[in-house]
Amino acid sequence: MEVGAGEIVALVGQNGSGKSTLVKILAGIYQSDPGSTVTFGGAGDEKASLHFIHQDLGLVGSLSTVENVSLGRPERWVSLGLLPKRREVKRAVELIADFGGSFDVTRPISELTAAERTIVALARALDGWEHTRNVLVLDEPTAALHGSEVEKLFVAVRKAAALGSGVVFISHRLDEVIELADKVVVLRDGRVIGEAERGAYGHEDLVELIAGRTAERVEQRRSPVAGMPALRVRGLCGETVRDLSLDVQHGEVLGISGVLGSGRDEICSLVFGARRPVAGALSLDGTAVHPGLAREAIKAGLGYVPANRAQEGAVMTMTVRENLTLPWLTPLRGFGGRLVRAREREEVDRWAEKIALRPADPERTIALFSGGNQQKVVLAKWLRMRPKVLLLDEPTQGVDVGAKAGVYDLIDGAAAEGSAVLMCSSDEKELATVCDRVLVLSGGRVVAELKREDLSEAALVGAGLGAVASPSQ
């Protein structure tokens, strides 16, 4: 892959196609496998450098804007000690003003809004932008921005490109890509599968390139069991979720869609009790449940697959076998609290086969498996308990494309066996494929409900964005 001077190259691809991994390798966060090289072309004795804006911005939350901006430039630390801090502050104010920001630069980053943080990250990356041999890498910089802010960002990016820098721009939003990029590079499964110059592609062409020949999933017609809902939520309130009510029937897959900050990412943990709700009532099969302790929630018949697998989903230092049986060791117990190894092995082997674990060795530490296989194990540990309600938060985050189908099959299977599934996802296509019904969230409230026959990726994106354009407050 090449990035010319003054060129804006957009990098697109599905979740897990390797975009973020590439950025992290370039930045030196991950180690690349041997045999890969990165070279800077061009003449001149200016130092070539890469500037990054990572997906999570890479700011230090406890430091102020001023300190964050100065952090990447050790040469200025010297002056920090000698000169009054005023100069740094003034510089920071100027920098953020370039991007239309006007907020207190001495407040800790953690107190700023998402949009303000993006501005700080941009300001930091573009600070001292005089060299021509630089490459700016933006990893989904627009995820937390509103329309007008995106425009400002684009102006800044174009300015940088006009100065002769190469820009690598990573985004999910294809319209942005079409607007901004001179060249589009499409990634799938960690490989470049297509390149196109500006004007040589339209929206549909890109979708086709990105998605590839998506295999048609066999439409599994499920019929949700009528009657008493498996999960009933009334008036649930959390940090962003406001007065949410929903019902999920046995055998139904209910999706939750919504942009970042809509409260989508909070619902599962609130229902499970991983986070304490401010208010709200839950009932399972008509029996009231008080969220709080995970143990109680599990006993009541809930299973929870969190979005952050390494931190909350699995014990990465343990083997697949140990992870799979952890929530429910009771049936494996023998005399004197002893775990009956043979019984455990047999059961785990059965599950490993069922979820097509690769490599099929449950005695390996789970950290050594691919994201997709890890996620299948996390799912299996709950499926083993035949939960009444399965809560899924971003079930295919960090899962490669090939393994996604496996995860969907497991979800289908759970619903077919009578579990009610609540699935929160930022991937509209996934929701459109898997769910029977999808609620669209905005500002913590449900703003639209789409039934099976109306479900499509476009309809979901439309509903989500429409909600942003006209906030319902």
Binding site: D33, D189, R213, A215, E216, V218, F272, A274, A294, R295, I298, K299, Y304, P306, Q311, E312, G313, A314, V315, M316, T317, M318, E322, T325, L326, P327, W328, L329, T330, L332, R333, G336, G337, R338, L339, A356, R358, D361, E363, T365, A367, L368, S370, G372, N373, K381, D400, G402, A403, A405, G406, D409
Partner: protein, 351 residues
Amino acid sequence: MQTSSIHRIGRALSFRNISAIYIFIAIFVLFSLWVPETFLSGDMWKALLASQAVTAVLAVGLVLALAAGAFDLAIGTELGLGSIFVAWLIGEHGLPIVPAIVLTLLVGVVIGAINGLLVVKVKIDSFIATLGMSSVLLALIAWISSSQQILGLSKGFQSIGVTKVFGIALPFYIMIGIAAVLWYVLDCTATGRKIYATGGNIDAARLAGVPVSKVVVGSLVACGSIAALAGVLVSANLGTGDPTIGPGYLLPAFSAAFLGSTQFRSGRFNILGTVFAVYLLATGVKGLQLAGAPVWVPELFNGLALLIAVGMARFETSTERRAAVRRLLRRRDRSPVEPEREPATVAAAEK
């Protein structure tokens, strides 16, 4: 099936997994040739087994806390308090042996419980909580003993430390008993699984329904009472209560637990590896002493052994991960279809 069990045995015998055994053999051969008349004497080995029993008891107690993800930096002073408290009860108050030991163990339980509650309820990091506790306990030891040795322990009490069975002093057998119980709990029971899960990832364990607070408190309580018992053994062995004895045990216990974690169970704190580590280090040190090494050599040996063993384990883990990635890539290159794709998808794609 057969290949997988061969694989399993191969993994179990690899240098990475049981490097301590290979190193032990090397040390044994070295000193057997160097100083055969002293190093190969049976009495030397019997004395060695008994003299390291206290360290081993303390180290296996510590493994319980470490496995649950809690550092117990107070373990040395917990031992010191146990040692002085039992001597104080017997020597100054003339309590019979059994109630004195029971009371001492109770003190260990209480201190462990306080540690646990500080970690779980007050949410102080275990490192800091137990560091603070160890200082408090030092003060307590000085207060009880007035910083003086406590003499006049009964003969019956001292016999616990010096009675020999098959030529080896009693503390060795007590250590074996405790280690066996802890091994059973950690390796064979659901409780052990929950302890390891809590230590591995406390959030994931909580979300999987493990009562993590109980696990942490319970482990620290057990650790505290075992440390107190180790203190009792020290006093019985010395025949006095020594207020300065505790802190010196902290480092050997931690070294053994960390060195032990590199053995047998690849990176996991475990009882067998820890007991073995205690005796590996002691054998090396003993050999050096018999060969006439200067006094500072044992400390050097202990430190280097720990650094090298743990460093090597880290290195092996990262190479193992790299090898796994390489295998995956090779397989992808060989076959055009990713191994993970479902058969149905493949069929559809080929159409």
